[in-house]
Amino acid sequence: MIDYQRSKKIVTPVFVLLFIVMGGMILLPAQQEVRIRIREGMPMIPVALPEFHFIENSIRDNELKNELYDVLWKDLRYSRVFKLVPKEHYKYIQKFNPDNIIYKDWASIQANILISGKLEVSGEQRIIFSFKVYDVKSEKFILGRNFGGKKEFVRLIAHRAADEMMKHFGEKPIYTSKVVFVSDREGSDEIYIMDFDGKRQKRITFNDYIDLMPSWSSDNEKIMYTSYRRGTPELYIFHLYTGKTGLISTGGVNYSADWSPEDDRIVYTSSKNDGNTEIYLRNMKTGKEKRLTFNRVIDTSPGWSPSGKEIVFTSQRSGTPQIYTMGEEGTNVRRITYEGTYHDNAVWSPDGTRVVYVSRIEARFDVYVYNLKNNTIAKLTENAGRNENPTWSPDGRHLIFSSNRSGRYQLYTIDYDGSNLKQLTSKGENKMPKWQKK
């Protein structure tokens, strides 16, 4: 429906051309050609979300109902899959009655999908949310779910409903996904966990040593992180549901681990053998290790491709830190950044088509997305402090990164095309976010 690129080209072809030429010549003389590209994709689906009803005989709790509605509204608006028909338009049609849906009314205000919600509040702090989805054009009921739980889980209930919407339309659910990060809000750097939207932040390590660089296991039940609790950086596993912590004894100084999204293998940086920082692969089940890089310069920041078959990393082998990819055997090394003198923090997108990384130009760090298919680069942040450690949402439509644009480092979310920037944290300094991979 809306082909952003095409319409832009038709309306302002001269401006686009001018921007590219001037941008390439004046603003970024030493850089690869940078273009802001909007990813081609399905147009967003217009959804109407009328006010929820209380189920008869249930206790009326308007605050709870409004919170549930508000969270679901914000989730759908964040999706980039759905677009919400503005609430003001509902005034022009008859009031929504879940027992007698007048589809033509909803079609008249451009809604393709209609969501009906009913809330039951029972005495013992429990709620049941009944959620029904209708296709307006075919006038059919297409999806229905009931979610029950304690009142305090009202946000989770809304997120579950939003996840069901994503799944029904063939998208990866992201609304119950979590993000781990590092915060010094209570003194030393410790690991914290939060919902994807920055809500319900909670501390999970309590050792008062420096804890850094968390990474999710493929089953989302364990976190691997780097800690100084024995004086030098070493890798630890934290089991989220048992609370147990274990040291990964690999000898030497180890940090910056990334867990394969497919199995129990990690890649990490270590200087254990010849004293130089190299990248190693370790099978967590067998304890078997393999060294992947061999040179006298810095190799670091390894990260898996979504297939678990390739690794993206930073190497100084050409003189300055640049981004490379290699196979799981350390072979087929391919350099993907050429211009510029400083790149790091590369993370492969969940669909495998893009790599996000940080580039430094004149002491500014910005987040860039490199498209592996057509070799184009999009710049996501500009002229706003240092921007570091980007991490993809499980569906690849959003990123969370840290930035000191407001003074201290805080976490922000931004969409793949640089839109919808929003700050997620504010207490202390917050950095090194890692979104669940799936």
């Binding site: 810095i298 920041s301 400083y342 790091d344 760090f365 450690n389």
Partner: protein, 179 residues
């Protein structure tokens, strides 16, 4: 007239009386001393003991040794980890101290300024600590006496955005951990 003669008589008689008393006191003539008596100090004499440098070193706590600044920190160029020429004299002095105090074990901490990413600075800090250790080793300090650790940009000395701040933060620090 009679009264006056009585007073006169009394004064005269008093005079004679005192004169007769004086004659009764025997005085010995003072002789030149022949013997030299020895006078000695009565306060017990305890000298402040003169400690050897080793003994002084033994007495100090690790905190005191570190606070004294026996081992000075060195700084690096932006994005570099080789030891700068103007830092070599400092490392020579640090090596002299370490050779003199052969039991001291140190940690060399590598630090970076904030103009690098967290991950890359971890590696850079480690490289800085290691080239520093190698330099000290070339001056005769045994490698096993020197541990290295990188803090990347996680422990800046000063906060700020100017070059002077960055310079101060790009450093290796020497911490005595055993003696």
């Amino acid at each position: 007239m009679k009264r006056v003669s009585i007073i006169l008589l009394m004064v005269v008689s008093l005079f004679f009386f005192t004169d007769s008393c004086k004659k009764k006191v025997k005085t010995e003539p003072v002789k030149e001393p022949e013997k030299i008596e020895r006078v000695e100090e009565t306060t017990p004499r305890i000298d402040r003991p003169v400690l050897t440098e080793e003994e002084i070193f033994e007495k100090k706590s690790l905190e005191e040794l570190n606070a004294e600044g026996n081992l000075r920190k060195i700084h690096f160029d932006f994005d570099k980890y080789d030891v700068k020429d103007d830092m070599k004299p400092i490392l020579h002095r640090n090596a002299d101290w370490l050779l003199k105090h052969g039991s001291a074990v140190i940690t060399i901490e590598g630090h970076c300024d904030e103009r690098g990413t967290i991950e890359y600075n971890m590696a850079l800090g480690e490289k800085r600590a290691k080239t520093t250790r190698d330099f000290l080793e070339s001056l005769g300090v045994t490698g096993i006496r020197m541990q290295v650790v990188s803090y990347g940009k996680n422990k800046p000395i000063v906060r700020g955005v100017d070059e002077q701040t960055h310079y101060r933060n790009r450093r290796c620090e020497f911490v005595i951990i055993r003696k």
